[in-house]
Symmetry: C2
């Protein structure tokens, strides 16, 4: 049965989904609510809206419009929040660049993304200048000198913004499929890929955050997760849904984190496990008491039992989420069951270490044989590739049709992550496809070996990679960073792992020392592989 | 800039929004959670999913598929919840019929909507049979004999359902614009209109409920609002998002309401003001103590100060929402500001009586001159028509192109409600277009007069309508229902109103007695007008 024409979508009953709607509403309903705290600065929702409109008017004045790219090389400061609204208000696409890339990496993105304008933090201007010397693109540059940072450069952002129109007539997207953001993957192999988000996905993921976080109205959100990482998992937009307060944080350091929690009543923060380590390693002088329970969302690696216990003791409730740049950040959540609270701590940690189930905003999640595209049995043992399908899967890779087609083969997004599905439907990562170790024809999950290592009390961080071996093909090699003051020998570590795992899975060698990490706190296994190869 | 073809929507990254996704997820993640309580019956999410699939398989077996209509003439019982999932699982449209209509009203809907099958409560079978005698449509009838109701008829629902396939391969909608529900307006003038909802709007409104209710995971929702009313404002779908528990309730009576709250830990319920009156009028034997604060959402009329105070005292937090069948129920919410809690009770009640601001899921709300389509000034005085625009506005009126075009004229849905916009942007209803009283050329808002009447301690319910007058054209006439045991004379009431309103707005006559009400608790002004005319 086909609908008659008068039942077609039209302006009265069909509007593009967009996160711009969230700020529009918050500024109209709660204009006097505190939207942003940064050092001594305070911006209400009226201010944030006016500043975003000023930015949009300035960008429009530069000839920037629908489909153009505006880059941001910024820390978690107010201009980054404003860019999340002001840029799409012109129809343009926000390209938030990882601030820890080298000049060549930044140059690649500026050329590939084609940004017409870059807003950059003064501290990052030398990096940008070096990148521009390598790039062919010649974007206009606006330098933001953060008042909370040591001076040096003159601020070009505030005077420029001040000349913008606070009542600028911004426009909604023409279509919810219109691009809103361009986020480059870290590109551990080959060139980084430019992941495109659209307004529809950003609005739905942000709303999903609110459903899952269940913080109620007016949460206080601390910016420990970089906003260049999946647009801060879409929280710059999500917080407006509930007219919450953003607490900006230029750098992840324990003192300022505790100060923000105690002084501003922070209710939630997110980050990689390194943020939890930072919190737990705070000195007594840095630590502060606070009365509220704080929600902490962690991603990138399962939280070990000892960390979970220490975080609970310190006043934090940890939720484990999982995703990739291609799925707007957290598209999988370790949905907790109340009855699990009665279990012993190791069992709780085991359950918490699983990545979990689909986000409310994701339509389907499965673990499949990528050859046959059939789901693996939910036996907790059979490995397959994690596949995503739904409205919070990227639009595609910018200017990269072949990578896009490959990623979407068979009607699902192929994550490249290997996992099992447990009988209760929860998925658990076992490895990146490329991180699996094949020894004597047997697959060894490097994550499984790492989990065994993490149970050793002296192990702070670890990574297991394949070492070429004439007899076995590959064998597991462990890199271990010990806790400050802790000691353990190679023999002791190997013996410990053998108590927990089959012998063929156990590392034969252990290398001690600090581990290389990405800008988002992930351990850089490719660096370790280079060391093994070198 | 147009996107290249490889960035088009495809199955991996674009799936129809649908509330069916919510039950699918709840049943997968929380299969053992209690989904439905009805008398002695308990259904888990696994059960609710299996029962919905059985229903879908049975409907498919009857040849029912995409675009077909299935009617439900049911109280707030499990089959009604199952119909909200099982019917759209086949691609069909759920037509929940008001159980308090007369046979002619039901017959009109069965013929106009063209239901192929009707599921009817045994107690309503005589009504249905009378309706079918008047109708030309000959749908298949399934009779549901509720185990909590007095017997008489044989149950045809459970045996029929039992023969369905609990693993039936149900299908997602092909398109999110596909119709999911058909709800007839009450049709106080002319024939009722059949409002069509689509999957997209139902999913977004339901998610909006979760954002605004902010109940967290696993709320316990009591069914005091009829599910035939805007699909219970979409809560049959919303509750699945957070894997909550539905507590069914065949009839709105004070004892069972308090029992449910105390025995099942109800956290939320909704209803017209009549439900609040029912709660407050409970006898000491019917009342029960309960420890939790219960959220109550009321619509249809602003809650008077005395009712708000009494509800707070009784353990309920009242939220005022507003909408119409055409906007899926509550598309406007009296969003509360924390600082208002410090105000004196009358001021709080005044603020609470305003309908409020757009729902998170509605893209635009305005008060406009319907001739020029320009917004009225936000001065709290200039009246205009309430206009809606967004994704939770109906698809249109079934088989009624002219009414649809009229309703969507100028790119907005015309509500027919008259309101003002206050300086803070909150809207306040002043009247239905047709309820305005024009006396001596001056517009009198019947709602404003009623609000003055409600301040009188003896007034339980009231309604003001126009009485034809040779000199003035019309004058306001008040109908008043006094509180049990209370007394007041006509002269006393008129004098009281004159203390609060300009004289030309005050009723000259007061008629005492019980007021006629619709099935959803709204006062039937057209009945009162008939009395005035007769």
């Amino acid at each position: 049965m086909t609908d008659p024409d008068f039942l077609r979508p039209r302006p009265a009953n069909h509007q593009p989904l967009t996160p711009l709607s969230f700020l529009d509403r918050a500024a109209a309903v709660f204009p006097d609510r505190l939207a942003v705290i940064h050092g001594d600065q305070r911006f209400s929702y009226r201010d944030l809206m006016a500043r975003s409109r000023r930015l949009a008017s300035r960008l429009a004045g530069e000839g920037i419009g629908k489909g153009d790219v505006v880059a941001a090389l910024l820390f978690n400061t107010p201009p980054m929040l404003e860019a999340h609204y002001g840029v799409p208000m012109t129809g343009a696409i926000l390209n938030a660049i990882n601030t820890r890339l080298d000049a060549a990496g930044v140059a690649f993105i500026l050329d590939h993304g084609g940004a017409k304008l870059v807003i950059a933090d003064a501290e990052l201007m030398p990096l940008l200048e070096e990148a521009l010397a390598l790039a062919t693109n010649r974007p206009k540059v606006i330098c933001y000198a953060d008042p909370t940072a040591p001076g040096g450069r003159e601020d070009g952002y505030e005077p420029w913004l001040a000349g913008g129109d606070p009542d600028h007539a911004w426009s909604w997207p023409d279509d919810e499929w219109q691009s809103i953001a361009l986020n480059y993957t870290s590109g551990t192999t080959g060139d980084p890929k430019g992941v495109l988000y659209h307004h529809r996905g950003a609005a739905l993921l942000a709303t999903g955050n609110i459903v899952h976080a269940a913080q109620g109205m007016h949460p206080v959100y601390l910016w420990t997760l970089p906003m260049f990482h999946c647009n801060g998992w879409c929280f710059p937009w999500a917080v407006s849904i509930v007219a919450g307060t953003h607490v900006c944080l230029r750098a992840v350091r324990p003192g300022p984190i505790f100060d923000a929690i105690a002084d501003h009543g922070v209710t939630m923060l997110c980050g990689a496990p390194i943020v939890m380590s930072t919190i737990l390693a705070a000195s007594p002088e840095e630590k502060r008491d606070f009365p509220q329970r704080v929600t902490f969302w962690t991603a990138a690696a399962p939280p070990p039992e000892t960390v979970l216990a220490a975080m609970a003791e310190a006043g934090f409730e940890v939720t484990h989420v999982y995703g990739l740049t291609e799925v707007y950040g957290p598209a999988v959540v370790n949905e907790w069951h109340d009855e699990w609270n009665a279990l012993p701590a190791p069992e709780r940690a085991r359950l918490k270490s699983r990545q979990g189930v689909r986000y409310q905003a994701l339509e389907a999640l499965d673990v499949m044989d990528p050859e046959t595209m059939t789901p693996v049995p939910a036996d907790g043992e059979t490995m397959g590739e994690v596949m995503f399908r739904g409205n919070v899967v990227m639009k595609g890779y910018h200017a990269n049709p072949s990578a896009t087609e490959k990623a979407f083969a068979g009607g699902w997004f192929h994550s490249g992550d290997l996992a099992v599905r447990h009988p209760d439907g929860y998925i658990q990562l076992k490895d990146r496809s490329k991180d699996i170790i094949i020894s004597g024809g047997e697959n060894i999950s490097s994550i499984e070996v790492e989990e065994a290592l993490y149970r050793h009390p002296a192990v702070a961080l670890c990574a297991v990679v394949a070492k070429p071996d004439e007899k076995w093909g590959e064998t597991p090699l462990a890199f271990v960073e010990l806790r400050p003051g802790a000691q353990a020998s190679e023999a002791e570590i190997v013996a410990f792992v053998r108590e927990h795992l089959a012998h063929f899975k156990c590392p034969r060698e252990v290398v001690f020392g600090e581990l290389p990490k990405t800008s988002t706190g992930k351990i850089q296994k490719f660096e370790l592989r280079k060391r093994v190869a070198g």
